[in-house]
């Protein structure tokens, strides 16, 4: 898990730096240990970000088993939980992010009313 986290983190951060844009997406994924569900969530997230937010996002993965206290700060109950720290307002998406449509709605990347079409 740690290795994966590091590997994922570094390129995203650099990508954010290079892409100097007014809108930066700061995403945080809370997981508890390296379960199949958390791996799936991270994979799903990365795929969606690549597709819709290429170059303007960063993902921080927090393992609550290592930093249990952090769960309080973002009011995490369920794992995995994806927290959109920026842009505001804060949004939370819980689950393994397998439903791409809902993730996009949750991230405000797609307006809810357009979902059916």
């Amino acid at each position: 898990m740690p290795t994966k986290t590091e590997r994922t983190k570094t390129p995203r951060r650099s990508s954010r730096k290079t892409a100097v844009e007014p809108e930066t997406w700061n995403l945080r994924l809370y997981v508890a240990g390296q379960t199949s569900r958390s791996i799936a969530a991270l994979e799903n997230l990365e795929r969606i970000c690549q597709e819709h937010l290429a170059g303007k996002y960063s993902i921080e993965v927090i393992d609550l088993l290592k930093d249990p206290k952090l769960a309080r700060g973002d009011q995490i109950l369920a794992v995995p939980t994806l927290v959109r720290k920026l842009p505001e307002p804060v949004r939370k998406i819980i689950g393994d992010l397998s439903n791409q449509e809902r993730v996009l709605v949750g991230l405000d990347l797609r307006p809810k009313q357009l979902e059916p079409s």
Partner: protein, 573 residues
Amino acid sequence: MPKKKAARSRALAALEKCPTGITGLDEITFGGLPRGRATLVTGSAGSGKTLLAMEFIVRGIRDFGEPGVFMAFEETAEELAANVASLGFDLDELIRRKQLAIDYVRLERSEIEETGEYSLDGLFIRLDSMIQEVGAKRVVIDTIEALFANLSDEGILRAELRRLFRWLKDKGVTAIITGEQGQNTLTRHGLEEYVSDCVIFLDHRVVDQIATRRLRVVKYRGSAHGTNEYPTMIDEHGLTVLPISSLGLDYPVSNERVSTGIDGLDTMLGGGYYRASSILVSGSAGTGKSSIATAFADRVCRDGQCCLYFAFEEAPAQIVRNMASIGYDLDKWVRKGLLRFHAVRSTLYGLEQHLGSAHKQVSDFQPAVVIVDPITNLTAIGDEREIKSMLTRIIDFLKGLGVTALFTSLTSGGHTAEQSEVGISSLMDTWLLLRNVEDAGERNRLLFILKSRGMAHSNQVREFLLTDGGIGLREVYVGPGAVLAGSARVAQEARDRSQVNGERQSAARRRRELEQEQALVTAQLEALRVKTASLTEELQALGSSEEARLDTAARQREEMTRLRGATPEQAHR
């Protein structure tokens, strides 16, 4: 099967209890909540679930040295701290001392999007980190049903809850889970399905504008428990459950007598009330019930013992003033700290609260005597059955402590007194009945002893007098065909006196007459005697003179004869 049963009963015997420290609750659960298990506390909004849970944690820390964790879904830590500050609970201090951890879980449905599978590991991790932080033995989750309102996937939720309660058990913590009462279920989302070792139901109902709180242990797996609805109250000391203490009628009895403060009444009762007995003084308005109560209170204080006076009708100052008019200086005893008044309007709160405050006051003050004046005012806030059950509790409680209790009761209308009191009179050991008798334009007070268990007592009616110098009992006038009291008695007695006087006078007169007559007769007798004597004398005199005359005559005749014979001429001369 039998084998299984045996194993089960062994496990039951080993069930360990975790005391809550909440007055009364530990009594009806015979020791507290099941240790190492979860207890469901459910009830409607405002029934005191959170308070019960918080008390469980705080008292656990303070009284039993067991650190606790409070996970709140509805209130923030600051709100919780402020809410219980009035109970004297300083949550911030407990948190500083690392004995308490509070976590406010905020769920905002609008912020949350659900997609795909998830678990509630975040919740577990937060709980676990708090438990480790303070070394918690007790955990409260208040109220986990908030999850159902904010997360839509019930299937996941239910599975996770099941896992949570299992996990709590494995952690070995004693937990309270609160839940909201549902329509026809104990909890809105069926939590009782998961937390089934012990379920406590809190009820908050309003009847006739009076709110009453009840607590019931719905189930307690593996333990005996009181099954009734127990009156509960919330006051400045927190939650109190009032168990009916009369689970057994095994209080000690005393043969010691305590003076009633009224000499005549002591005599009627053959020495006074029994210590730790219950006394009912009933009567219609203005018959002197409070005066009898006061006389007793005064007497108790005079003996240097404490008396607690529950006044539901008058303010203490008014009682003191009024009783000063019949010669009882209650103020003196108040200043000495022997007499304490607890005066509230009966409608101020429900019966339970009254009962609870009575418990508290008695426990605090440790009086020898408790006076409740009058119990009938309680009818404003409860029906006869409820009052009876409350009085049963009070009486049993007081008897258990060896406290003598005097209750006054206002009865309306003269002759139904005995009937209307039937409900509570059976609880009483001694029953004094005061009655107004209206006759000849005045009302007089009469006192009867209707019953007095276990002592010889007078069957006589006494007239009951309130004077400047206290209470006096007078024997009523019982004459031919009449029982009279008051001025009628006085008048009749005067009449009797004058009649007796008249009789006495006429007897004396008769006596004098007879004496006079006797004296007269004696005098007459004396006169006759004197007369007899003189007659005798006269007779004697007469006798002797006759003899002398006859003698003389004879001698004359002889002389004559002699003369004739000798010289007849001489005889003619």
